[in-house]
């Protein structure tokens, strides 16, 4: 059945190289040509002072424009379409399938797509919250609520776990280097393997979690069969995954705090808790705020873990906003409503963006980064 060794033959080896090598060559030539042309244009024709800066920036700018801005704008266009599985043929450049739409893009589609994210309309009346997926629990407020819970629990546990480990590791103890190397392993493991392995560890019969609980006389739990237990399981795995990041960040922060502060505090008679409260925490703040900001954003957007471990199930009960979005667009239980999903994705982005602006302006956390 399988050719060569593990599917690798001279032919398949070169088939891949035949795609990759020309790509790299084309990109390099393109970058050089772009920089050369742009530099001459800006410095000699326009006599710009910062010509070199713009030139150096241009490859990145083009990459971001082509691979990010253009797709994002295209996403907005898709929100004005009725693209779904049954209409794929209409939007295909090489029309294989038949098309039953009279127009491809229109405001009517956009209104329909955005409305459906929130409401279910029947005969011009709002009858209920809209269902983003199949079940009654897959409404926008329900998913938003779950996303907030998910983010809250994860960030809290990431922070407290990471801080506890960092405080212990910051003491004078032996084998510090070894502990640190072992504790950061979750971070280094390829995500898919982490998720699939943990998924199996939560298996009711053969998973280690139940074997361990069984050792304490606890009856086996069908972790991934019940929405609440499944939610606990995915939170656990993501906490496990996120603690090393905080530990490393906070350990770096703790080590940079000068011992003199503590000595001065001791002379003033401050106890351990007071030292922690009034010296350690304030001095960790510059590291903590950006770390928490990034963590909130990452956790809010944590798609791969949920798709691999539960795919939002059972009963669509472990979906957060982004996984519901993924399932609305690509899931097996929906009809690949890509136009609708584009509208949904824009709404999610707006929520995150508002959060970020409010949080960053109130905490002042990222000020230093972009003001420098």
């Amino acid at each position: 059945m399988v050719q060569g060794i593990g599917g690798l033959t001279g032919e398949t080896l070169f088939a891949t190289l035949g795609q990759i090598v020309p790509l790299i060559i084309v990109v390099v030539i393109f970058i050089l040509a772009l920089e050369f042309a742009l530099y001459n244009l800006l410095s000699k024709v326009f006599k710009l002072q910062n010509a070199l800066a713009y030139t150096l920036l241009s490859p990145a700018a083009v990459a971001i424009l082509v691979f990010m801005i253009y797709p994002l704008l295209f996403n907005v266009l898709l929100a004005f379409s009725d693209l779904k599985r049954d209409t794929f043929g209409c939007y295909s450049p090489v029309s294989v399938a038949t098309c039953q739409l009279d127009h491809l893009y229109g405001l009517d589609y956009a209104i329909d797509n955005f409305t459906k994210v929130f409401f279910r309309i029947r005969d011009g009346q709002i009858v209920d919250w809209g269902r983003l997926l199949t079940t009654a629990g897959s409404t926008f407020p329900a998913l938003l609520g779950r996303t907030v819970l998910w983010t809250f629990f994860n960030v809290i546990f990431h922070f407290s776990g990471g801080l506890a480990l960092a405080l212990i590791l910051n003491q004078k103890i032996r084998l510090k280097g070894i502990y640190r190397s072992l504790i950061v392993i979750p971070w280094a493991l390829p995500g898919v393997i982490t998720f699939l392995t943990w998924k199996q560890e939560f298996h009711a019969q053969y998973g280690f979690v139940n074997i361990l609980l069984g050792g304490f006389g606890i009856a086996p739990i069908s972790w991934l069969d019940n929405p609440i237990y499944a939610f606990v399981a995915i939170v656990f795995v993501n906490v496990w995954l996120g603690i090393p990041f905080y530990m490393v960040m906070l350990l770096g922060g703790l080590q940079s705090i000068s011992p003199e502060y503590y000595e001065a505090a001791q002379m003033d008679g401050a106890g351990a808790w007071q030292q922690f409260r009034f010296i350690t925490m304030p001095l960790l703040r510059p590291i903590l705020i950006p770390a928490v900001t990034l963590d909130v954003i990452w956790t809010f957007n944590k798609l791969d873990l949920i798709v691999v471990m539960t795919n939002g199930g059972p009963q669509e009960g472990t979906n957060i906003l982004v996984s519901a979005l993924y399932n609305a667009a690509f899931g097996t239980s929906a009809t690949q409503r890509l136009g609708f999903a584009s509208a949904f994705s824009i709404i999610i982005f707006v929520i995150l963006f508002i959060f970020a602006i409010v949080w960053i302006t109130t905490s002042g956390g990222l000020k230093e980064i972009y003001e420098k």
């Binding site: 020309p22 253009y70 079940t135 199930g313 097996t332 929906a334």
Partner: protein, 408 residues
């Protein structure tokens, strides 16, 4: 400009990559065919063997690449190819419920002109939409039935009470062995229970009728099997049931005819083989009615992109595979599935039992709305099977979400 660049780059690279393929395609005579198959490895191997035999005789040098895909992946991938306008296989083998949505998208070739449809007397309706035939049956059946390991359970249980007693007896004799298991959360395994209580997916007008007493009873029944009788494992998917059955650590399962070939092969299934595998219709409820599995068969369909030599090769091979008496017999015996054409004697006892089980089934409608039923039942069944949803709510929720799905 940037887009042009991407396109240019893409064109250049595609030209490079496809050069060899184009050269190969231009040569006439030997066919290089690609088939997507929803069948398991054992059955695909049977088809691969038959293809070699056919190629040796009629088209020397031809090759067939078989790519195995799960039911939903098959449907997804075919529809995605509709957006790309390319990447479709020359033909694919799958259950008939993929045909509805694919035909909606206009991705399938009408086959009435290409094949002599009078050859296939059974089940053709399951592959016809508005009178147009979109699939050639490779076999009849695709039905779920009761399978048991004769070394653990002597006779097939005839009622659910018998089954529960038999399963408990097995577990008492050896606690390491599971008495009874099946793919708990998969709607395909649940629908027979509904049919047994007199329910169906559509009413006479073709509207969903899922919020009925039969559906409630069925949800309640599968719930009770797990939480009252405690006769099924806490978690069980297809693999859990099938793998354990093959290994001899589960005594009774519910599975489809597609697995028979695998179970007869003692290399794959050390605990089974012709001596130990028993096959029977579903056990009866208290009132004597039996759950009725969906029946249809597997069908080969041809995407609209298959043309010229590819189409010629495909039609020639598929015609031979499904109508040549010797080929049909090899296929039936190798896969343990019932032939789709008349006049092929079935003497194998397992196949006869499978035939008996087939006769208890109900034909699967070719209505494209059927996929909305599958999609809406899944989460509700999950809810019932985790004791989180009561049967009545599950039934009414199934109805609502199926209707919403249809609205799009």
């Amino acid at each position: 400009m940037k887009i042009k660049f991407v396109v240019l780059m893409v064109v250049a690279l595609l030209a490079l990559g496809s050069l060899s393929a184009v050269v190969a395609q231009d040569a006439m005579g030997p066919y290089t065919l690609v088939m997507w198959s929803q069948d398991g490895d054992t059955n695909n191997a049977v088809i691969a063997g038959l293809f070699e035999q056919w190629a040796a005789e009629f088209a020397p040098g031809s090759t067939l690449e078989i790519v195995q895909k799960e039911t939903e992946t098959l449907r997804n991938d075919l529809q995605t190819a509709g957006l790309a306008g390319s990447g479709l296989p020359d033909f694919f083998l799958g259950p008939n419920d993929a045909i509805g949505p694919l035909s909606d998208a206009g991705l399938l070739q009408p086959l009435d002109e290409l094949f002599d449809m009078s050859m296939y007397p059974f089940n053709l309706g399951a592959a016809q939409i508005a009178g147009v035939t979109l699939g050639v049956p490779t076999n009849a059946g695709n039905h779920l039935m009761l399978m048991y390991n004769k070394s653990l359970v002597e006779t097939a249980p005839d009622t659910w009470a018998d089954l529960i007693a038999a399963a408990n007896a097995v577990e008492e004799a050896d606690p390491e062995i599971q008495g009874f298991a099946y793919n708990l959360n998969e709607p395909f395994w649940f629908l027979p229970f509904v049919h047994g209580f007199g329910g169906s997916t559509f009413d006479e007008e073709g509207n969903f009728s899922m919020d009925t007493e039969a559906w409630v009873n069925a949800y309640q029944f599968v719930h009770d099997l797990k939480f009252v009788e405690e006769v099924v494992p806490a978690e069980c998917d297809y693999n859990c049931a099938s793998d354990a059955f093959k290994a001899g650590t589960t005594a009774i399962i519910l599975n489809g005819d597609w697995a028979i070939g695998e179970y007869l092969d003692t290399e794959v299934s050390p605990a089974l083989g012709p001596d130990n595998l028993g096959v029977a219709p579903w056990p009866a409820y208290e009132d004597g009615n039996r759950p009725q599995p969906f029946t249809a068969g597997k069908f080969i369909s041809i995407p609209v992109t298959t043309a010229d030599a590819q189409l010629e090769g495909t039609v020639a091979f598929v015609t031979w595979l499904t109508t040549d008496a010797a080929a049909v017999e090899v296929h039936a015996l190798g896969t343990g599935r019932l032939p789709a054409i008349a006049g092929i004697p079935v003497e194998d006892p397992i196949l006869q039992a499978s035939q008996a089980a087939l006769e208890t089934g109900v034909g699967m409608p070719a209505n494209p709305a059927l996929r909305c039923m599958w999609d809406s039942v899944r989460p509700n069944l999950e809810g019932v099977m985790s004791d989180a949803l009561d049967a009545a709510t599950a039934a009414s929720e199934s109805q609502i979400s199926a209707e919403l799905c249809l609205e799009g």
